[in-house]
Amino acid sequence: MPQTYKARVFVTLKPSVFDPQGHVIVESLHSMGYAGVADVRQGKYFELDVEAESADAARAMVSDVSNRLLANPVIESYRVDVA
């Protein structure tokens, strides 16, 4: 019986890729007085409702979706959580 799973996908720029938006945010935080914030990397967050036979099957499908569409592997990496 297929079950419904909630998948969460976090997409971030790879560490080697400069993040112009994160850079502007951290500069803004410094000007606001938050000297303790050393760095900011901006990313994307997705919630997917998926039907699959198991959590592993759901994870495999969402990983495939992330690799093909949600993230661009040239510049981004992703993490999948399934609950």
């Binding site: 890729v17 400069f18 112009p20 502007v24 569409l69 949600l70 661009n72 040239v74």
Partner: protein, 238 residues
């Protein structure tokens, strides 16, 4: 000869490309909706600028899965000349037909202005009438034109002569100040290994008549016409 101009929902330079290919250089052109797969016997394909599918997710990320892209890929695989201007470049990157990716401009500004672009190579169907080192004054209009690729990819593109256009000064110097978006190596345009797929962020199709401020971009369209007349790339099965 006939151009196919692909129209995605959100394309907005499709009519500029149509005007330039028909009224300005006197060729035929067909607008091909992104759901279509028949390229109607076109000799060359233009992926125009705009905001295909709203540029949601990432620029070009949704457009690459439009049905027409399978035909574009097959056309390119058969050696047919394909060009991407601006959003068209972003779509070709997402489709994996060209290497690399676009990041937000380092200024975070949408840059809309005329820039100078140096032509590095004339051994592509889209630059055959250019002189290497020739400087074109043509417009840009983009927020995500900051070209990035991994260092080993950049090295390979440079070694293979696949960097076709670079941002430069009016004198052709590739300075950092002349780089409007932070692109690595001032890269404004590249080609694939086979050299028939070319793309650049600036808009040559919007700079084909003096009345528009510059006619420097016309040579790109003239080049592909000359290349096809010379009979270099023949598309199999057409």
């Amino acid at each position: 000869m006939k151009f196919a101009i692909v129209v995605f929902p959100g394309s907005n330079c499709d009519h500029d490309a149509y005007h330039a290919t028909t009224a300005v250089i006197g060729q035929q052109a067909e607008m091909i909706w992104h759901k279509e797969t028949d390229l109607r016997g076109a000799d060359a394909i233009i992926l125009p600028g705009g905001f295909a599918h709203g540029d949601y997710l990432r620029t070009g990320a949704i457009a690459r899965f439009s049905p027409v892209m399978q035909s574009v890929q097959a056309f390119a695989d058969a050696g047919g000349p394909v060009v991407g201007f601006c959003n068209g470049f972003q779509i070709l990157l997402e489709a994996g037909m060209l290497e690399g990716a676009m990041l937000r401009n380092r200024s975070l500004q949408y840059r809309c202005e005329h820039v100078h672009v140096r032509v590095e190579r004339n051994d592509t169907p889209w630059t055959g009438l250019c002189q290497p080192g020739q400087v074109m004054r043509i417009p840009i209009a983009h927020g995500e034109g900051n070209y990035y690729a991994a260092p080993e990819v950049i090295d390979r593109l440079e070694k293979n002569g696949q960097v076709i256009f670079r941002y430069a000064t009016a004198d052709g110097e590739t300075t950092d100040a002349a780089n409007p978006n932070g692109s690595l190596h001032n890269i404004a345009g590249i080609c694939n290994e086979r050299r028939n797929v070319v793309a650049l962020m600036p808009h040559p199709e919007r700079a084909c008549e003096a009345a528009l401020g510059s006619a420097d971009g016309k040579v790109v369209l003239d080049s592909v016409v000359a290349s096809l007349r010379a009979g270099v790339p023949v598309v199999a099965g057409r």
